[in-house]
Symmetry: C2
Subunit: 218 residues, 2 copies
DNA sequence: TACCACAAAAGTGTCGACAATATAGTGGCA
DNA sequence: TGCCACTATATTGTCGACACTTTTGTGGTA
């Protein structure tokens, strides 16, 4: 889906490590030993090093010279800060999507929404996870701003997913979020950039507040 | 100023390469040969590789597997997209700065503005370059959002500087920009988050339009 | 001449070993 | 006992060599 093709050994190691970190099989805050990982994954240390460096670019690990790399630790403040960035960037993405998406792309977006509607109606929980990601994903791509796309999909989304998975946020907010999605798509369909941005920002802000209260973070 | 301390050889190579790229001594769009650079800088290829990888994280070079790395090329659309991201992120930074800066930091910001005022009054051009950067820098730091800070200072600002240097944007807009800065600081002093964000976004938008018309980009 | 196959060259990807730095552990001294 | 210096160990940083892929260049064939 994200069109990430692993051609090189470092790629594969990067993806495996990333999955293990996001899903929590390598615990948050733990140390990443190059030698250890190289034996575990059966590749040379150079490959592991490169993979870790890329993980650092994704903000999934922190590295200090001559000391080593650690998986980031998940904190309520970190989550809040992450969502502030998301609000800012995805708001802009929605604005640009309203401007730059083709009519076909918008039609497809409406279809996606309809299919989600069916699922919500039938009480399926599929929507929450993959559906939500897919919705945001399409709008981000629709912005057609390469920097924005790269920052969100390579830089932020895996960290968001890590929070979601490890703090177990599969909560409610399904139907509410669906309505919000619907309004955003409407605004995009009307090519109302201002409104699209505002609604997207609210949508993310609500979801942040929903999570923050759950975690007891300001 | 940016508290970047080069402890390792890869660090130094990274900084040297980055400077050479930003200042145009390595032309935009040109290929980066690992072997060539390793002989030029007198370090091993592994070090150059790591440096190039970090440059990729900064969006200053693009790398393809088994083919190599090229310095990004500067295009009008690229500049527009970059400024859209800046608008979004720095707008949020201003909002958060209005919320999170200490009174002391705000006082210092006002002093910075005053000293700039003296310089503008005396017709010095110092303001435009370092002064402008310093102003934005302080607000970004003042946001106290680590993701935001990292994205802007590590990820985007060097690319902005690259555009500025290589397309020669030392134009006018000095006094106008100064007024905009003044209003932003006022909003921050009043802890008006909404206004601070709006003004910062307009400030960057104006500056984008100013540049875009100069380059003949939509 | 145009096109394809194949060989040669250059470049990147990967590896294991050595050097430099940080950490842990030991012993001595006040 | 508590603290400092020193040694030993483990980990990261750097290097040169080899493996694999891409590109270049050469020759043959239609």
């Amino acid at each position: 889906m994200f069109s990430e093709q692993a051609v090189t050994s470092a790629d594969k190691t990067f993806y495996r490590l990333r999955t293990d970190i996001v899903e929590g099989q390598i615990p948050a805050g733990s140390k990443l030993s190059e030698t250890e990982l190289s034996t575990k994954y059966q590749v040379s240390r150079a490959v592991v090093r490169e993979a870790i460096n890329r993980l650092e670019s994704c903000n999934l690990v922190e590295r200090k010279a001559n000391i080593g790399a650690r998986v980031v630790s998940l904190t309520p403040q970190g989550l809040v800060q992450l969502y502030q960035v998301r609000e800012s960037l995805e708001g802009m993405a929605a604005r640009l999507a309203a401007k730059n998406m083709t009519d076909d792309e918008i039609a497809a977006l409406n279809e996606l929404l309809s299919s989600h509607f069916q699922e919500v109606k039938q009480g399926q929980s599929y929507y929450q996870e993959a559906g939500d990601v897919d919705f945001h994903y399409r709008i981000i791509i629709g912005s057609k701003n390469q920097h924005l796309i790269s920052m969100l999909l390579n830089g932020i989304y895996h960290l968001v997913r890590m929070y979601r998975v490890q703090l177990g946020m599969a909560g409610p907010r399904v139907t509410t979020a669906f309505d919000e999605h619907r309004h955003i798509v409407q605004a995009i369909s009307h090519r109302d950039e201002e409104l699209a941005e505002m609604l997207m920002r609210r949508h993310i802000l609500y979801s942040k507040n929903n999570i923050a209260t759950k975690l007891g973070a300001g």
